[in-house]
């Protein structure tokens, strides 16, 4: 049985449609990420799941029970806030204890749960401190701990890493993943950061304009984006439109584009002439090949170099390990037909 069931959910604010006809099932123990640009409806959805907003239409079930109209204080969900939202006048221990006291958990049980979580999150030495005496990463851990001691059936994360610096972000990211696995928690994680989503999730839901664009595993989402939006939003793929010039039963399909003919091994639906193609910047093999371009911009990134190329007024990006290439050079490259994905055109 699905841990969370969302059926036909819509939400509008003063005529603005934040979510429309949204349906999704989250499995028990799954780490599901809601990914999308700001304003795509992901935070609205999280607020509806946690109970802070009521949907205009549709239902939500948690563990099979309809909770659409249950207020947040009586929902079996725990939310990790972007701002941590720790109570500043309470010590770490009192912060961790707060929810348990509200639920009238016995003193013994409280001690057991808190010491377990504090050990897991390495907070034992911080328990008597006030939140403002802790670093950002520690505060985030307390916030996570405060949610964990509640042993919720669903844990919700609202961009929990966005206030941390890059190094700490990686560290806390690993920690959240580890905890989620250890407790086999059902987690819903909201972010606009695609690398976070790819690194942590079992499945990713890509949202745009209040609608689901694609739901897939990180690997499939990356290698088989279905729409130009997904291809571009995740990993910044190169997009190019073209016409199907030959389609045979066997062998790759040839698409005529302004970059010249491109081969793809992915199927094109029957009766479709104009298609949109996507290929990843790091999949181009520089050297021999049918395609070429002039380097117009170069950005050395350490472990790789980003090149912006131009050909026939088409701009595209190639990512390479070769740091010897310079602006102005003309390079040839090839694309494997497997790496060229045929996209559905956005409606």
């Amino acid at each position: 049985m699905a841990a969370i069931g969302i059926r036909g959910l819509s939400k509008s604010f003063d005529g603005f449609q934040a979510l429309s006809e949204f349906s999704l099932e989250v499995n028990q123990g799954e780490f599901l990420t809601l990914l999308g640009p700001s304003g795509c409806g992901k935070t609205t959805l999280l607020k509806i799941i946690s109970g802070f907003l009521e949907p205009s239409t549709g239902t939500i079930t948690i563990g099979g029970e309809d909770v659409t109209h249950v207020p947040p204080e009586r929902r079996d969900t725990a939310l990790c806030f972007q701002s941590y939202a720790l109570f500043p006048h309470l010590t770490v221990l009192q912060n961790l204890e707060f929810g348990l006291k509200q639920k009238r958990v016995s003193r013994d049980q409280r001690e057991v749960r808190i010491s377990e979580v504090a050990a897991k999150l390495e907070l034992e030495t911080q328990l008597e401190k006030l939140p403002n005496q802790l670093s950002g990463g520690q505060q985030q851990r307390v916030s996570l701990g405060r949610a964990l001691v509640m042993r919720p059936s669903v844990i919700l994360f609202d961009e929990p890493l966005s206030n941390l610096d890059a190094k700490l972000r990686d560290q806390v990211r690993v920690e959240i993943s580890r905890i989620q696995r250890d407790y086999s928690l059902t987690a819903i994680y909201v972010t606009h950061d695609q690398s976070e989503a790819l690194a942590m999730s079992d499945r990713i839901v890509v949202l745009n304009g209040g609608k689901i664009v694609q739901v897939d595993t990180p690997e499939d989402l990356y290698s088989k984006p279905r729409t130009p939006f997904v291809a571009d939003f995740i990993g910044g793929a190169n997009l190019i439109s073209g016409r199907v010039s030959s389609q045979t039963e066997k062998g790759p399909i040839i698409i005529e584009t302004s970059m010249g003919p491109i081969k793809t091994s992915h199927l094109v639906k029957d009766n479709v002439d104009n298609v949109e193609l996507s290929w990843r910047p790091e999949r181009a093999k520089i050297g021999e090949g049918p395609h070429c371009g002039t380097i117009v911009h170069r950005a050395f990134q350490g472990q790789f170099t980003d090149l912006i190329l131009e050909q026939n007024d088409i701009i595209f990006r190639i990512r390479t390990n070769n740091d010897k290439l310079r602006v102005g050079e003309v390079i040839n490259f090839s694309l494997s037909p497997d790496d060229v994905v045929v996209l559905e055109v956005d409606k």
Binding site: A85, L86, F87, Q102, L130, G136
Partner: protein
């Protein structure tokens, strides 16, 4: 001009101004209160020729000072508490809800402060008489004072309510807190300095308020300011007035110092958050 020179100049100016406005009147009040009736303090003498506590003892024993002290110090805390209770709902609405015209409503709340107090007092007392609230004079003054100083209370508490963080309220709710528990954990810590400040400001204002206390209260209720008025306005006994002024002013100075400490004391709700 160097920074040090400017600095010392400014300090000299501050000290001078403080001396003219505070030290001189205060010293004069102390000196006048100590003038012994045996020998008057005439203009040709720098200090009173004979000094004693005669005036203090006399005021304490032979005037309504004791009664005035009791009524003033009962009126003021009552008005402060009532004012706080009356201001809380409005401040909550102004500080927590987004509605069209909110900024205008805030401004409107402050508007009564520009009307001269005597005018407000006259018309407010007329209103009280019309409502038939004048029979219990003490209650009428408490009510009038709390209403009169409501703009301060609303303004201070609105700012306090604005500092309450929505994510704290949401976090408490998410953790299963009832409305009362949410108030205690998310609102109260942020409101505390504002509540103390409101109580103190209304208290001090009420202690010093003359117009309403005089128009509604006299002759039944004597407060320190109305007593002071009779000492100055009717009898014009300057030493007695000096005694009363000091009784009025000294506690207020201490209260103001407390208020200053409260406003300055670090509010942990504001300094927390992102690390």
């Amino acid at each position: 001009m160097t920074y040090e020179r400017l600095n010392s100049l400014l300090i000299t100016m501050v000290v001078t101004v403080a001396f003219i406005w505070l030290a001189i009147p205060f010293t004069m009040a102390v000196l006048w209160s100590l003038v012994d009736p045996a020998e008057p303090w005439t203009a040709d003498k720098l200090l009173p020729p004979v000094m004693s506590f005669y005036r203090w003892v006399d005021m304490w024993e032979n005037s309504s000072l004791r009664y005035a002290l009791i009524s003033s110090y009962t009126l003021a805390p009552s008005a402060a508490l009532l004012g706080l209770c009356l201001a809380l709902p409005t401040a909550f609405a102004l500080g927590r809800f987004d509605f069209p015209g909110r900024e205008f409503a805030k401004l409107l709340c402050l508007l009564p402060l520009v009307v001269p107090p005597f005018i407000t007092a006259i018309f407010f007392s007329a209103l009280l008489f019309q409502l038939g609230l004048n029979t219990w004079r003490f209650g009428a003054i408490v009510f009038a004072h709390s209403i009169l100083f409501l703009p301060y209370a609303i303004r201070i508490l609105t700012v306090s309510f604005e500092t309450v963080r929505q994510d704290h309220i949401d976090a408490a709710r998410d953790l299963g807190a009832s409305a009362w528990a949410r108030f205690r954990v998310a609102y109260l810590p942020a409101l505390k300095p504002g509540i103390s400040a409101t109580l103190l400001i209304v208290f001090i204002q009420s202690i010093e308020e003359f117009a309403i206390a005089f128009i509604i209260g006299s002759p039944d209720i004597v407060t320190i300011p109305t007593l002071l008025y009779s000492a100055l306005g009717q009898d014009f006994v300057r030493p007695n007035a000096a005694v009363l002024s000091l009784i009025l002013v000294v506690p207020n100075v201490f209260l103001m110092l407390i208020l200053e400490r409260l406003m300055r004391s670090a509010n942990p709700t504001l300094s927390s958050g992102k690390g």
